[in-house]
């Protein structure tokens, strides 16, 4: 059943697959983000209480939601690398970390900008915000650990252990708004049968989330390709590729 997957354990095949997928991801993300951002920021109806400034939701929510997904993706890659000893999963995890850290930063900054007018403060030490800040620290720790070792394989294994330890934080972030009384509101859009948001506002948001997902895919593919090249720089196929493309 999984036999078709086996050839991709070879770095060369995976590199080619990433190259083939890259333009599709890039085009999809550009199209979806253009539609979502223009619709959300310019045409969606304004909100009853927050008027126009609620529109930052179209950046804040996709970044925040997907930063947690990226962490889970990273943890899954680490698990795969530990269980099946796939070297490429290490490259994936290393490629994902900075992307996730950037998304987390974006979500924190947009959250602060949004909080200033709506809550009257940019930052509160409540459970959601604090646990989310820890997520950023975890990302930074993983990146730091990845850079601390000279041997990339060793670095990935060390960073992988930290990644798995940090998974504890993800459910805490997710449920912090239900377990504690927080200033941050509870989930709005994940209740699909009865969303607490009007559909004209919801559609651009969903499009933006998908667009962000494709953008993450694009960035990760680019970084993945680089990681694969860096980890296999002595292999004949990489040298051949480098001579063909011309080393700049």
């Amino acid at each position: 059943m999984w036999k078709w997957l086996h050839p991709y354990a070879k770095p060369e095949r995976s590199y080619q697959l990433a190259s083939t997928l890259l333009p599709w991801f890039a085009i999809s993300s550009v199209i979806l983000l253009t539609i979502g951002v223009v619709w959300g920021l310019a045409f969606a109806p304004s909100e009853a209480y927050q008027k126009e400034y609620y529109r930052i939701i179209y950046i804040h929510v996709p970044a925040a939601t997907l930063s947690m997904s990226v962490y889970m993706a990273m943890a899954t890659a680490v698990l795969i690398s530990m269980v099946w000893q796939l070297k490429l999963a290490d490259a994936t995890a290393a490629a994902l970390a900075p992307v996730g850290a950037t998304l987390t930063t974006i979500a924190l900054i947009t959250g602060a900008i949004w909080g200033a007018p709506s809550w009257g403060t940019s930052w509160v030490w409540d459970a959601r915000l604090t646990s989310y800040l820890i997520l950023l620290f975890l990302y930074l720790g993983v990146i730091a650990l990845n850079n601390a070792f000279d041997d990339k394989a060793l670095a990935s294994r060390a960073a992988g252990i930290l990644t798995l330890v940090g998974v504890v934080n993800i459910p805490i972030i997710k449920y912090s708004v239900e377990w504690w009384n927080t200033l941050h509101q509870t989930a709005t859009i994940s209740k699909f049968d009865s969303p607490s948001m009007s559909t004209e506002m919801l559609w651009p948001l969903l499009i933006n989330i998908t667009g962000f997902a494709f953008m993450i895919g694009t960035l990760t593919l680019i970084r993945f390709k680089n990681e694969v090249l860096a980890r296999n720089s002595m292999r004949p196929w990489v040298i051949e590729l480098a001579t063909k493309e011309g080393i700049k």
Binding site: T130, I134, L145, R157, A158, I161, V165
Partner: protein, 237 residues
């Protein structure tokens, strides 16, 4: 005679309890020979605590309010200082590698080393904690809560910290990285511990906070030795 015949190797299998005691006693003995390693983090703790009243002014009310936070933050920082020696010397002189090679379960040995570390660093903090509370004019009602949170919280510091040390022991400049990796993981403990002491000083029940810290302790005891073991295997390569 098979290669694994214990008699032929002149090797007596140890029970888990014996192994635990052997490793722990060894670590305690080594530490007693280097007294500075135990005393310095403790002196650091006292100095940090002294700095706060000097830095923010000796106003009694203010100190009473922030005392739990200061004591706990100082405990976290001194734990970070003392953690380095958990595996470093063993790594340098090669005995860590011998432990990894030995047929004994690594889980038990790691747990024994962490226990020894707690006895040497966590327990002294617990003993001088009332004195620190006195220095900071802590609310008298809060003393039992301070002692209980430190008693069940400081083992968590050693257990979680051991993961970070194990990950960075092979690095030349692991110290700064260690704090970057470990301090975020300490945050939940800090929140619940100071929450418990604050609740106690207001005369409110703090059992729920203690329950969560105990849960952290149980989770850390069961899971952290596994993480430490695999991290040590990575670090010693």
């Amino acid at each position: 005679m098979t290669p694994l015949d214990h008699q032929s190797l002149n090797y007596t299998p140890l029970s888990y309890g014996q192994l635990f005691m052997k490793v722990m006693n060894r670590d305690l003995k080594v530490a007693i020979h280097n007294k500075g390693d135990i005393l310095n983090p403790l002196i650091f703790l006292v100095i940090v605590i002294t700095l706060f009243p000097l830095g923010i002014g000796p106003e009694t009310n203010l100190l009473t309010r922030i005392a739990p936070g200061i004591i706990w933050v100082a405990a976290l920082l001194s734990a970070l200082l003392s953690l380095e020696r958990l595996f470093k010397n063993d790594f340098i002189d090669g005995s860590l590698e011998q432990m990894l090679l030995s047929p004994q379960p690594l889980f038990i040995m790691v747990l024994a080393k962490i226990t020894a570390h707690w006895l040497l660093t966590g327990l002294p903090i617990l003993i001088i904690a009332p004195l620190l509370g006195l220095m900071l004019h802590m609310e008298p009602l809060a003393y039992p809560a301070l002692m209980i949170t430190l008693a069940i919280g400081t083992p968590v510091l050693s257990l979680i910290g051991a993961i970070g040390v194990a990950l960075t022991v092979g690095l030349k400049k692991g110290g700064v990285l260690l704090s970057l990796l470990i301090l975020p993981l300490y945050i939940p403990l800090l929140i619940f511990a100071t929450g418990a002491i604050e609740a106690a000083s207001l005369g409110m029940p703090y059992g729920s906070h203690l329950a969560i810290i105990s849960a952290l302790l149980i989770g850390a005891i069961t899971l952290s030795p596994f993480a430490v073991s695999s991290a040590l295997r990575v670090s010693t390569n």
